[in-house]
């Protein structure tokens, strides 16, 4: 990996880190859902700065150029993050349905309670 590419990737990782920190600080991101991003960032930074650490792994899986390992690691994280986002959305969807049902049941109970005094008024 040449120095030019290394510097470019380092700058990219730092920029992403700063944006994420800013969004976390402003509470636009929730930490629970951001941990995987943080992990991706740290691993990518390590692979970019010191590819020799992971070069052995790269040769095992048949990657010749270490820069491809960087892209592979990033790709793997993107897939993992997308999968986790799908899981989160599914969970949220289930919760929203449950809340809507609860609201409809409560609405029915309130309407029933409102009808009781009116019914007694009519009999009087």
């Amino acid at each position: 990996m040449n120095l030019q590419l290394k510097l470019f990737l380092v700058a990219f990782v730092i920029l992403l880190g700063v944006i994420m920190f800013h969004m976390l600080r402003k509470e636009r991101l929730e930490l629970k859902y951001t941990l995987l991003w943080l992990m991706a960032l740290i691993v990518t930074a390590v692979v970019v700065v010191a590819p020799q650490i992971v070069f052995q792994i790269a040769t095992w899986v048949g990657i010749i150029n270490p820069v491809n390992l960087v892209f592979f690691v990033e790709g793997a994280f993107v897939i993992a993050i997308l999968l986790s986002v799908t899981a989160i959305v599914s969970g949220l969807n289930r919760k929203i349905r449950r809340l809507a049902q609860e609201l409809a049941l409560l609405d029915e109970r309130i309407r029933k309670m409102e009808q009781v005094p009116r019914a007694t008024d009519q009999t009087n």
Partner: protein, 243 residues
């Protein structure tokens, strides 16, 4: 006489809840008690109904932080002067409540935490947990300059001002240590008093050994982050209602 509300978060506490509430109401008949049922899958809710407890039942599982926050919102809207958090599993002894209330009632502190590590009596929890708690103590000391020996303790009393603050801002996942830091950062006074804790009577901890590494990393990042967050205005109400 301040108006006191005891908040008891309960997730599947059918075996211990009645005992906890019975000992509480026999010792403190003047205090109101609110059970926060976080969508339990056991008979916690029917126990609350049968005994006529005051309770909130969440329609979905919200997690301990969000469930607790609902309790603070209830305390806020119903004008309580002091809210006390107490576990539903029998770890916390209601006879220590006076110690928690006094500093809040006299205005000496906004939050009083019951710590088992001051006199080191009673159940002291496992070594790994104590190590984690000691790490939080170190972190809080570095970040806020105050020594809190048991930041994970869920046995704590809060003032009216802090009730308002928590009903608008409360950490969601593992809230206790984060609540300590955000309170200190926002200028609230925290004090600790010695208490003796018992081993939980039933149920399992919300933190399994598998999750403990995740817990430590997440809480540490959250604590560091809460120092970087902008300070909140006091008496802020998310719903825009007058406080």
């Amino acid at each position: 006489m301040p108006k006191v509300l005891i908040l008891i978060p309960a997730y599947n506490e059918e075996r211990s809840l009645e005992g906890v509430v019975a000992s509480l109401t026999s010792q403190w008949p003047n205090f109101d008690c609110l059970i926060l049922n976080d969508c339990s899958t056991d008979s916690t809710e029917s126990i609350c109904r049968r005994n006529g407890y005051r309770f909130l039942s969440q329609p979905i599982n919200l997690g301990i932080g969000c469930n607790m926050q609902a309790g603070y919102q209830y305390a806020d809207r119903n004008g309580y002067d002091i809210a006390i958090q107490m576990d539903g599993d029998g770890q916390h002894d209601p006879s220590f409540l006076q110690r928690l209330i006094d500093p809040v009632a006299s205005g000496k502190a906004d939050m009083v935490i019951g710590s088992r590590f001051i006199t080191k009596e009673g159940f002291q929890t496992s070594l790994s947990r104590r190590t984690g708690i000691r790490f939080f103590k170190f972190l809080i000391h570095v970040l806020c300059g105050q020594t809190i020996s048991d930041a994970t303790s869920g046995f704590r009393a809060c003032s009216r001002e802090l009730i308002c603050f928590f009903s608008a801002n409360y950490a969601q996942d593992y809230p206790e240590p984060e609540a300590v830091i955000s309170s200190l950062r926002n200028g609230f006074k925290i004090m600790e008093v010695p208490v003796v804790m018992k081993e939980r009577q039933s149920g399992v901890s919300s933190i399994s050994p598998l999750k403990s590494v995740y817990y430590m990393i997440k809480v540490t990042i959250a604590m560091l982050l809460s120092v970087a967050k902008p300070r909140h205005r006091h008496r802020e109400n998310e719903l825009g209602e007058s406080v």
